[in-house]
Symmetry: C2
Subunit: 408 residues, 2 copies
């Protein structure tokens, strides 16, 4: 990926104020893995009893740290745990050297922090195929551990950035049984973003109490409607990881609690949207809402066909309400569709209905919607009750510049 | 699509000399469907006894002319037949108006040329969702029919162009039983190009004698390894059509003849490559050869994942031998792969082997290959005997300009 650092026009005005999550402390350091003059290692130390759930890339060329995390998720949580992330090198497609690096880093963290190695979760993000200079990471671990602090989450969000143009954070608090439960999360990601988890690292922390199995099933289900419903470029990373840690420090059991579940989903969706808003070269945030499909999974297939179509993404960049290309994408998706029952709207403007241009069609009104920064395309298939909403950004000269004009 | 008309840097030097195919005559006219000052209607009149095979888009939002052709393929061929194509308007997603237009055009051709309406095959290519002003087409039919000529195939290739930057033709002649059989074909297409047939119209003519069923099974099989193995932008048109007409005028029965079959496949592949070479904004022609896959279909899935990856296509545009992105595409494709058995070459330069950077890797040699106009990426999965080769082009600022900067 390239070196363009101008902040995305779709970025939030500021990094949000995130609540302190009891039971987790954060530290960062500048290890010089690849980047100079910035932090590139982040550590989160989790108290004994923390339940940890994870969702990872389904890529068949998964990176070594991902394989290591997947083995460890669901293990005993009576001792503490740690998350250790480096940016600048993905430690992916590095053969036995990759395993060696993961082993060295998790061993060093385990020894320094007095936590079992089976509870050290690592992620690496950056260049693929270069050996990770893991000694640079292990060299700073004692220093980072000496500085860990409850208030360090904003610095942690910065340390995990690669081509991101802004740090990403989101939070929620909910009342359960008269007590407050807090959730705070951070994420990185801007390219190689597609379903099945993208080049995206997400860490969410809560002081809620919940057993690991309940947390895992909640997180797996919610990943499907949030992170797995976004796409920047249809390309799926070898390293995507979402880790959710519940420290239990609030003493509030949230198992089966709908308010908590809703709050967690809002945090996930917020972070997922922030990743799309930082899509490489993005100038428009696009929501694609599909209804009336034969099934929910068909609706998602149609939504993703629209979201990944280069012709639609370039039309949006050109502020062109080109609904013919939406018809094309539905036709090619492979999911069920009946041309003559299709309706399509851009914003509130119905552009196509019952298989042809809408009688209410106004090129001017549709074009006016396309000039905005937030674009909404709604499609009603008219054949069932299946629905899904997915999110993407436009395809611009900026994407080409970032990925073609600069050597990675 | 846009209005950029600078000829593709990958275009052949000249339109080829195509042989006369006995039993077929061509005519063209400027009907002013959309374009001004150029021909936009082409007619091919086929002698009685011509066997006609067709392969069409699998889009679920197929255009009215495609549905009409699909119904007619395989019908009785004792009378003559005609192919009538207009450019400038796709007559797609036009509801009952679309059917009305097809009926009006096929009826007018049938009456003017004294051919059964069931043997009139039409295609339309251009804007989607606008009603086709079919009266402009029917108005010129008598004029076109009055001028049809055996030598008119080059003019026919020009009349069917839309965003194409050059006319596309290819031919072959083979000796069968001491007699010469000729094949000549024309094609159009440059955007909305992906498997399952793209915005692509292809017409191939031969004087060979072959029954319709044999021709159809030959053409269907060969379309899978030629036109269905190319992609420009992963977008699939509503109107793709490949029609092969065998007039039998040579008196040579080619049923089951391997030389004829090979020659027909070469013509198809040549036209398919010409479509890719005219890909919107293309500056590189890319061949992706997959071997060692679990099956041929797995090999094609991997090949298409590489060919459609925006990150790989932009890397090629930037002349960057970024094999990490190839690893990523294989991982996401969904087909079987073992990270540690993968080998990848760019041209003759092995860049990755057995799951890591090749010991022979030379960044300089790989970069030198990427500077050429013809790029070859070879991937050996190392797990089976499945193989496939697919073709694509790079993704450049030119593609964005054509599709975003100009209103369609």
């Amino acid at each position: 990926m390239g070196q363009i650092t101008k902040v995305s026009p779709l970025a939030p005005a500021t990094f949000p104020d995130l609540p302190i999550i009891k039971g987790v402390r954060f530290g960062t350091a500048a290890a010089g893995v690849k980047y100079q003059g910035r932090t590139d290692v982040m550590m989160a130390i989790l108290d004994p009893g923390t339940a940890i759930a994870g969702v990872f890339t389904r890529s068949r060329t998964r990176a070594a740290p991902v394989l290591d995390c997947q083995e460890k998720i669901g293990g005993a949580n009576d001792k503490g745990a740690a998350i250790l992330v480096n940016s600048g090198n993905a430690n992916a497609f590095t053969g036995s050297k990759g395993v060696e690096a993961v082993t060295a880093i998790t061993k060093a963290v385990a020894e320094t922090c007095d936590i079992p190695q089976s509870r050290i979760f690592t992620s690496s993000t950056g260049v693929i195929g270069e050996p990770l200079p893991f000694e640079r990471v292990t060299a700073v671990i004692a220093d980072v551990f000496g500085k860990v602090d409850e208030g360090g989450i904003a610095s942690a969000a910065k340390a995990i950035m690669t081509t991101d143009t802004y740090a990403k954070g989101a939070s929620a608090t909910v009342e359960v049984d008269g007590k407050t439960v807090s959730i705070a999360g951070i994420a990185k990601g801007s390219g190689m973003i597609a379903p099945d988890m993208a080049t995206m690292l997400v860490y969410i922390f809560t002081d809620a109490a919940i057993d690991q199995k309940s947390l895992q099933s909640l997180v797996s289900a919610q990943a499907d409607t949030t992170f797995n419903c976004i796409t920047v470029d249809s390309d799926t990373s070898t390293s995507d990881s979402l880790i959710v840690a519940a420290t239990g420090a609030s003493g509030v059991d949230v198992t089966g609690n709908a308010e908590f579940s809703g709050a967690l989903e809002r945090v996930m969706l917020d972070l997922a949207h922030q990743v799309v808003r930082d899509g490489e070269g993005a100038t428009k945030f696009v929501e694609i809402a599909i209804t009336g499909a034969a099934s929910d999974s068909d609706a998602k297939v149609h939504g993703m066909a629209i979201a990944n179509s280069p012709l639609i993404k370039t039309a949006i960049a050109g502020e062109d309400p080109n609904w013919g290309r939406v018809v094309m994408a539905i036709g090619k998706s492979g999911a069920e569709a009946d041309r003559d029952k299709l309706s399509i709207s851009f914003g509130d403007v119905e552009v196509a209905k019952d298989g042809w241009r809408s009688p209410n069609y106004s090129e001017e009104a549709a074009a006016a919607h396309m000039k905005g920064e937030d674009i909404r395309i709604s499609v009603d298939l008219g054949i069932g009750t299946g629905a899904a909403t997915v999110w993407t950004c436009d395809l611009t000269h900026g994407y080409i510049e970032i990925n073609a004009d600069y050597r990675s």
